[in-house]
């Protein structure tokens, strides 16, 4: 029931898929444009990654300082217990994020375009 042409077809599709993944893998995820700072579920602010600044997030006694410099964002200080957010280092690409769970602070990188998930859900 399975013909030779079927196997050839599947092979061609597989090769196309692998080629596509290599091509796409070479230029994604894209370089981010903006840092979204979310505190306690609300957008605290949106900052361009190319304007150097320090953002201080104050909320319910939680203090987080985020450094934005040269296309990257980094958590430089936090009064949370684990300090995992600081150890996560710098982020610069779309879909990357730093999460400080105890203080409910999230830093997300977004590109120019709307993300796919936003609109599909």
């Amino acid at each position: 029931m399975l013909k030779k042409a079927d196997i050839i077809l599947a092979t061609i599709i597989l090769i196309a898929g692998i080629t596509a993944s290599l091509v796409i893998g070479s230029f994604s995820p894209a370089k981010g444009e903006k840092a979204f700072v979310i505190s306690d579920g609300h957008v605290f602010g949106v900052y361009s990654l190319y304007e150097n600044r320090t953002v201080t997030v104050l909320s319910n006694g939680h203090v987080n300082k985020i450094l934005i410099r040269g296309g990257e964002a980094r958590m430089i200080s936090s009064n949370c217990s684990g300090k995992d957010c600081i150890h996560q280092g710098s982020i610069s690409k779309t879909s990357e994020s730093i999460v400080c769970l105890p203080n409910k602070v999230i830093v997300k990188i977004e590109g120019k375009d709307k993300s796919y998930d936003e609109i599909s859900k």
Partner: protein, 173 residues
Amino acid sequence: MMKYPNKKNTAYRITFCAGMAALALVFSYIELLIPFFAAVPGIKLGLANLVILTALYKLGFTDAVIIDVIRVLAAGLLFSGMFGTLYSLAGALLSLLVMYGLMRTGRFSVIGVSMAGGVFHNLGQLIMAALLVSAPEVFVYLPVLMITGILSGAVIGTVAYIIIKRVSFPLFP
């Protein structure tokens, strides 16, 4: 291509297409209940394609299109909303065109046709998503969806092969 007992029997044709569309809709619903790898949106078994493939082989292209469009619109409006419907519609039509083309060549078995259908269904959805959101990043999903399209297409194709071979149409002459 018409394989009805009587070409002019419109009532039979409408009833049969409606029945097939309802069956495809039920399969779409059953598929929702299976929590398939939710990591990548769009990975599905494609149970409804079982009905569409059978329709394509047994009833012809026109009826398969009619059944598929009814199925997509009904399932989309019931389960996934406007955007989801548009994605599915693009995928369904592209995959049906490709499957019809491959079937006409006569070189491929139902399994090969079904594999191509699965892959192009995913491709159609991605193209529509990229157009609607104007975000080419959605093509990141393409390789995964191509491989899963082949796998699910092969499974569905095997079952469809058995159905097409065993079930004689028309069912109710």
